[in-house]
Symmetry: C4
Subunit: 125 residues, 4 copies
Amino acid sequence: MAKAPIGHTRWAIADNYIPSWSHGPEPELASHEGLSILNTGDREVEVRITLYFTDREPAGPYKVKVGARRTNHVRMNLLDDPEPVPLGQPFSTVVEADGPVVVQLTRLDSRQAENALLSVIAFAG
Amino acid sequence: MAKAPIGHTRWAIADNYIPSWSHGPEPELASHEGLSILNTGDREVEVRITLYFTDREPAGPYKVKVGARRTNHVRMNLLDDPEPVPLGQPFSTVVEADGPVVVQLTRLDSRQAENALLSVIAFAG
Amino acid sequence: MAKAPIGHTRWAIADNYIPSWSHGPEPELASHEGLSILNTGDREVEVRITLYFTDREPAGPYKVKVGARRTNHVRMNLLDDPEPVPLGQPFSTVVEADGPVVVQLTRLDSRQAENALLSVIAFAG
Amino acid sequence: MAKAPIGHTRWAIADNYIPSWSHGPEPELASHEGLSILNTGDREVEVRITLYFTDREPAGPYKVKVGARRTNHVRMNLLDDPEPVPLGQPFSTVVEADGPVVVQLTRLDSRQAENALLSVIAFAG
């Protein structure tokens, strides 16, 4: 690809919520949020994730990497450094990268017998 | 974060609809719309929500606050000043803030036995 | 609102599809697509909807109006002038208005026993 | 339409995932991802689709065409040249066109008895 890598270096998601229970075979159908980060560029990108809450100071940064010409689908549930991501509580996310990336959030909610899905491209700004 | 707070000061959602009945344990699985507002800035933001209807003048403003470095997930169903938000009727929403915020709308529809989800980042303009 | 009306005058949706069957009480849970159009301005807006297909020339314009400070949630299924909107076939939509509006598409798919939802803010351009 | 064709020439989707099993009548309710591409212009557009993975170099380009004033709803599952699209694995997509198009991704997940839907307008950049 001759053009510059696609994307932005800062993204936000206002509505995060990881259901605290599930119904269905693990791990495919466990309730979760997946944060997909695409790096079309020719060098590895470092990503810093900060979580915002309703009643306390932000947590983070959680650091992840996305290789050159790779995508990283981060399971939010598994982030635990510097602290575990809370379940059953609303929060928001800011993603900052040292190179252009594209960020999308998808939630699988399997609290009832059948699963429900939502997905948004994050807000670039 | 050294950069300016992320977001815009005016946002719109064209499709709001709060189902008038539910199926499932309250409050987690009650049909509802959640309006998530993220404020990454270092001062509290005041938000004014105006609702637009199909057949009468707009209602509002409904006033909410979002603390510095906080997120507020507003349950639309619970807004009641200056008037309750109608159930089972289509409406639209404009969100105006006195500082940059990011706005996202999520609907949980549990009218049938299993829940359904939709979510959109609001339109910034 | 002292500021200009929010929105754009041209919007597009690439994925339209109205399922051709339903499961659940009518009309609330009939499979359908709703095209929500918000007009925050102080004069009525005229909207022209054009449908694009996979294998024939576009259909339309379908004309609808949105009053000053009103929202119009158009059931795509009910558009029939100049021709009915096809069921069970993919199509795309372009919305053109003579004033700024905000456009969102929501699909309720009730082909199986439980409903599924998707929603997108249309692409403004 | 006197105005220029609506859209952009490069789009990205960060979260692709085609469930590897289904539940429900084929082909309507088979799990799949549909990539909808709208071309409102007066000449045919050539589209190149590149897939990005978590652990290997990108695949593609997959080439598709969208006729003048037509829409093309590509079933991602059916892309097989230069190689089949993997099932049950996360990936990302970049769409490049030689004329303006609008791109939207919709996933139908029918792994459980009832279907779930998500849809996003791709990121234009």
